[in-house]
């Protein structure tokens, strides 16, 4: 069979599949960010810390209460989403009338505080969280061995992303939300409780981040810094996809995961940088992002 730049095609397919898996984390996280920014105009820098909280709460549920992975998938987004709602009610909602940057500064500060608190309590080396027994093992795909758990991650994130897109674009609730961002006064005049809608949406976005955290807990080290490294990449994904576009965020997440996967094969040293190079190019050529709409 032919070889592409010295890499046999089987190895390449394997790497592409792994890239897709990474991309599903990017997609899930950037979905949450895009929902929060696109609909609420808040630049939520706490997203990485909330992803980390999701993983930690899943670990805490297992370690302190004996509650396993499958229940955690449902409970953790709700718990962390509630903390997000508290944050939003107490602090973030006071900044809506101000410039974006204040929200950015506040959420960035919150992220540092949350990370610092967890680091103080748990140290940096991380906690052990094992893959649930139903998902242990590998599938022999011929060109690679794919762990069952990673397959589950792709499936789960595609389902959640499509579900969220459907709710926002095709249902009445989503219509209210989209209308409320365009013209909150008018929507309020129709009797819809706009502040509550906004709060619940923020909580939902945070819940998405926490869900990504639970999905990540068995395969990545559950440590306080896990969100910090990821969030910068996710912001780049959202910027490339277009800050207001939800479908854009999801597609870009998967796409960039693939590109990163390819870079890891051909030039691994550059794999941490390639997404930012692409972001720089996209911003030069199409500042609103690939799927973004200029206001």
């Amino acid at each position: 069979m032919f070889e592409l730049l010295g890499i046999p095609p089987q190895a390449l397919f394997g790497q592409l599949l792994l890239g897709l898996i990474n991309g599903s984390f990017y997609a899930l996280l950037s979905l949450g960010l895009a929902v929060i920014f696109g609909l609420l105009n808040i630049i939520n820098f706490t997203h990485g810390a909330q992803y980390m909280m999701g993983a930690f709460v899943a670990w805490m549920l297992l370690d302190y209460l004996g509650i396993g992975y499958w229940w955690a998938l449902v409970l953790v987004p709700v718990i962390v989403g509630l903390t997000g709602i508290v944050l939003e009610r107490l602090m973030i909602s006071r900044l809506y009338h101000l410039d974006h940057l204040y929200g950015l500064l506040l959420t960035f500060g919150l992220a540092l505080i949350i990370q610092g608190l967890f680091r103080n309590q748990y140290g940096i080396s991380g906690e052990a969280y094992s893959i649930p027994s139903q998902l242990v093992g590998v599938q022999n795909l011929g060109f690679m061995f794919l762990p069952n758990y990673r397959l589950w991650v792709i499936v789960a994130s595609v389902v959640v992303c499509l579900g969220t897109w459907f709710v926002i674009e095709k249902t009445r609730l989503g219509a209210y939300l989209r209308a409320a961002t365009e013209n909150p006064t008018l929507v309020g005049a129709f009797g819809i409780n706009v502040p509550r809608l906004v709060t619940l949406t923020y909580g939902f976005g945070v819940g998405l981040a926490a869900l990504a955290g639970v999905l990540a807990a068995p395969i990545y080290s559950v440590n306080p810094n896990m969100g910090a490294d990821l969030i910068i990449v996710v912001f780049a994904v959202v910027v490339i996809g277009g800050m207001g576009s939800i479908l854009g965020a999801v597609l870009t997440g998967f796409g960039l995961g693939l590109i990163e996967g390819l870079t890891k094969v051909f030039y691994p040293e550059g794999s941490a940088v390639v997404i930012f190079v692409i972001m720089a190019i996209v911003l030069l050529v199409k500042p609103a992002g690939l799927f973004g709409r200029t206001a």
Binding site: L18, R119, S271
Partner: protein
């Protein structure tokens, strides 16, 4: 009228001047009496400032971090500095594993804050930067955390002591052991910075010298999170041993993900070339069991190490010490003894004493600082216990072999250090 007014002012001024002079003479007398009263005994009061510089918030913060500061304080206490007329202050800072941050901190400490010696500094790239600055400012650098063997090789300095371990010792400990048990083809997963490159280079030499082959290497960004792609490449290479030339969270993540991809089940072994006690603690014995590693210190080696480690744990949240933290204690203790012996804190004099006097403490036993700055002591080959073999928290290692000091470190003439004639 004017003249008399002028005269009066003049007289007044002269009188004031006279009073002022009398006051000044009085003050002078008072100060000299005070100085005589405060005059110290024959050994003039030396004050020494030690800066513990390491990663306090990132990948390497558990294996060094605050624990190193605790260890330094214990060294000052055990040395009984106060009774010997040496006043010791300890300061600490976070270099965030970045050479530029470390350089700025080192310069500020040496220039503006009167720090005499910097200790610890994990992350080889930062250590190499601080090494240069210490030589430039003629201070002293006691390396415990960093690994690159270049610190006593081509980057060696008359102001630096490399205390605890280095990439050569790790390569010849773990690398040699793996090759001898049949691992004759290797693939490296390397952290893409100074330390990873040094470890990969030193281990490749060992493998090739023992008749093995290096099939390839992949360099991952430091720090990394997802190693699945690189592990897949390692799996595809078919090498018998996958050498992890990285440390801290990178190593633990790679090991976790390797077990997920069934790498060890497929017949390949993982060689963790640099593993710390805190990594095994984070991985858990279920995942880490069977790993072979080389370290310079373990809390459970003998009664003396156990006693010291118990004191350390009480001051550090119940966590047992890693070899890096033990090395900070040992090197600071030896430094203070050298200051006492030299009678001053002049860098050249103290360094000469440190190399002249053999070192002796509860943690490393007997050791010696060589011409190139390398501290030689016994190293140990450990294997991680299985969950059944362990009797409790932190009971993780069993000793496989002791590598005596003469064989543990690179021979003096092979490093390319300009100080060695």
């Amino acid at each position: 009228m004017l003249i008399s007014a002028f005269n009066q002012t003049n007289l007044a001024l002269r009188a004031a001047q006279g009073r002022k002079q009398k006051m000044q003479k009085g003050k002078l007398l008072l100060v000299s009496i005070a100085a005589m009263l405060v005059a110290t005994p024959a050994f003039a009061q030396t004050s020494v400032k030690i800066g513990v510089l390491n990663d306090r918030s990132g990948t390497y913060s558990d294996l060094a971090g605050e624990g190193s500061v605790v260890a330094a304080r214990m060294a000052v206490e055990d040395f009984k500095a106060a009774e010997k007329g040496i006043d010791v202050t300890i300061v600490s800072a976070d270099h965030q594993n970045k050479p530029d941050v470390a350089s700025n901190l080192a310069r500020q400490w040496y220039d503006a804050e009167g720090v005499d010696v910097i200790a610890d500094v994990p992350t080889s790239s930062t250590a190499l930067a601080v090494n240069d600055i210490t030589r430039e400012k003629n201070k002293i650098f006691l390396v415990s955390g960093a690994a690159a063997s270049d610190l006593t090789g081509k980057a060696c300095s008359p102001n630096t002591v490399h205390w605890t371990y280095d990439t050569w010792a790790l390569a010849h400990g773990t690398g040699q052991a793996m090759v001898e048990t049949g691992g004759d083809s290797w693939f490296f997963l390397t952290a893409d910075y100074a330390f990873g490159h040094a470890l990969e280079r030193d281990t490749s030499e060992v493998v090739e010298a023992s008749g093995g082959k290096v099939l390839g290497a992949v360099r991952h960004p430091f720090p990394g999170q997802d190693f699945s792609s690189f592990l897949l490449q390692a799996q595809a290479s078919g090498a018998k041993v996958i050498g992890l030339a990285n440390a801290g969270a990178d190593t633990t993540n790679a090991i976790k993900q390797a077990s997920e991809f069934g790498i060890t089940q497929g017949g390949q072994s993982l060689a963790g070339l640099l593993i710390f006690l805190t990594d095994v603690h984070a991985l858990g014995l279920q995942t880490a069991q069977g790993l072979v590693l080389t370290e310079a210190f373990y809390w459970d080696l003998n009664d003396e190490t156990r006693a010291w480690s118990k004191r350390f744990a009480e001051a550090h949240n119940g966590n047992m010490p890693t070899m890096v933290q033990a090395g900070v204690y040992s090197s600071v203790l030896h430094y203070l003894k050298a200051v006492e012996a030299a009678g001053s804190k002049d860098s050249a004099a103290v360094m000469a004493k440190m190399k002249e006097m053999p070192s002796e403490d509860a943690l490393f036993g007997q050791g010696q600082v060589r011409q190139d700055g390398r501290h030689v002591h016994d190293m140990y080959l450990f294997q991680v216990k299985s969950p059944d073999e362990s009797k409790g928290a932190w009971d993780y290692y069993k000793v496989v072999a002791t590598i005596p000091a003469e064989r543990a470190f690179r021979p003096l003439d092979q490093g390319g250090c300009p100080l060695v004639k």
